[in-house]
């Protein structure tokens, strides 16, 4: 298969558009990846012959944090982009402003594929690492759709401040917790935008549900499944899905797995039905655990922290006294009063076993290329200042 990689074929959008138009399948790799093109090619050597045309391959992280290839059928993804066009009422949208890497399934499908098949303009930026370019793109936006992840909001706030971007008429969030508490600010920043909470996973390529932000006051509510998609909760709480748009195969460590459409796949989250057709996320499967016999949900803790802390926040896990333990990192460093607010929120809503073992501060959160906090870097990289600890 043809390899398309940002680092070797700039501009990526042009190379990607060309690859999308060919029959030959292609692999889209991010600029920085631990999986080199030669390894990708060798991993795909055992792929079914039917994947040679009309398909594409994205790189994602598996449940172990190790790289995994997700294989999609172009026809399915085009069908999903058309379904999103209807569900998100995108007829009047003229362009997609891209602040995320196009190799990320969310930006790839919601923006690149949607723009390509609907003949809309794609405005690709270098992301919030190049804030001047981003602000210029947002200033120049006309009837634009913007896709963000929640962890980008503090950085956007830092750079954009009190500016307003009325040219953005659709604002989407996905790829993590929906920043419900930031909605007043976002409505001021993008006064003409309809805001949506999208939910999915790489294996779904990527969308499972969409809801309007004003359809719920609860950040964990991800809305109802898109037409044709089925959701179910396993007995252990894992959210399972079947979808006509989802991946057709996975490749992990050279092992090719062809997915059966009848098979229920796990999204990686715990969830429960709300009752009105929508679903409520309860946390990542690995982010809900027991500590000193008490259930700890990092999603619930993060929601409580964000209710009082406007900056960035993320958890990483470590082991302490034979128990799983979670460390909260805030960025930038809070002043003493803000730290007391966070501690008070923990006291109000949670038992001591559920509190983090430490609260640390960094100037900025280390992030993955897709904008999500990098848990491994949070645990391993120096530079964190301990603000508070449990002394257990």
């Amino acid at each position: 298969m043809r390899i398309v990689q940002a680092a070797t074929q700039p501009p990526l959008a042009t190379a990607l558009a060309e690859a999308w138009m060919r029959d030959e399948s292609f692999v889209l790799l991010p600029a920085r990846t631990s999986l080199d093109p030669a390894t990708v090619t060798s991993w795909l050597a055992g792929a079914p012959a039917s994947w040679a045309e009309g398909h594409y391959v994205l790189l994602t992280s598996g449940s172990t944090g190790l790289p995994k290839l997700v294989v999609g059928a172009r026809a399915r993804t085009q069908a999903l982009a058309r379904a999103l066009h209807v569900a998100q009422d995108l007829d009047e949208v003229a362009e997609a402003v891209v602040l995320l890497p196009l190799s990320y399934s969310y930006a790839f499908v919601n923006q690149f594929v949607w723009a390509t098949i609907h003949g809309r303009r794609l405005v690709v930026t270098e992301g919030l690492g190049a804030p001047a370019e981003v602000l210029a793109a947002l200033d120049g936006a006309r009837d634009a759709m913007l896709c963000l992840v929640g962890s980008q909001v503090p950085l956007l706030r830092q750079h954009a401040g009190s500016r307003r971007f009325p040219g953005v008429t659709r604002l989407h969030f996905a790829g993590g917790r929906f920043p419900q508490e930031q909605l007043p600010y976002l409505r001021g920043l993008f006064p003409a935008a309809r805001i949506y909470n999208n939910y999915g996973c790489a294996e779904a390529l990527p969308r499972l549900t969409v809801r309007r932000a004003d359809a719920s006051d609860e950040g964990a509510n991800v809305g109802a499944p898109l037409p044709g998609i089925e959701l179910a909760a396993a007995p252990d709480g894992r959210l399972l899905f079947r979808s006509p748009f989802r991946a057709v195969g996975l490749v992990e460590d050279g092992v090719v797995r062809v997915l059966d459409d009848a098979e229920w796949l796990a999204s990686g989250d715990l969830a429960e039905p709300v009752g009105d057709g929508s679903w409520r996320l309860l946390g990542r499967s690995g982010d809900v655990f027991k500590r000193f016999g008490e259930k700890v949900s990092l999603a619930s803790l993060l929601a409580a922290v964000h209710a009082v802390w406007p900056g960035a926040a993320a958890f990483h896990l470590e082991s302490a006294q034979g128990e799983p333990a979670h460390v909260l990192t805030l960025a930038p460093a809070p002043d003493p009063a803000a730290l007391r607010d966070v501690l008070a929120a923990l006291r109000r809503g949670f038992s001591r076993a559920q509190w983090p073992v430490r609260i640390e501060a960094r100037a900025t959160l280390p992030t993955l290329p897709n904008g999500k906090p990098d848990g491994r870097a949070l645990a391993d990289s120096p530079g964190a200042e301990t603000l508070w600890r449990q002394r257990l």
């Binding site: 008070a344 006291r347 038992s351 002394r391 257990l392």
Partner: protein
């Protein structure tokens, strides 16, 4: 910083008390966060802050801030400041 100040900082940190909530006559029953794990955290903090290692019985027998002060004074750590 006086020993009273050190103890106040330790307990407000361990129990997540607001500044106005801390009193020297505060009892364990009044503080919802003064649970069994807090007892362990307080004992650890006492050792780190005052250099005194509390026995399990001493830690479990503490009923409030005043008990900690009495215990530490009995071990030669003054709170008369």
């Amino acid at each position: 910083m006086t020993n009273h100040d050190k103890l106040r900082d330790l307990l407000t940190d361990v129990l997540l008390l607001g500044d106005a909530e801390y009193r020297t006559d505060l009892t364990r029953r009044e503080v919802d966060t003064w649970d069994s794990l807090a007892v362990v955290a307080i004992a650890t903090g006492i050792e780190e802050t005052f250099g005194y290692h509390m026995s399990e019985a001493e830690a479990m027998g503490i009923g409030g801030v005043a008990d900690i002060i009495v215990l530490l004074e009995q071990r030669g750590i003054p709170f008369g400041d």
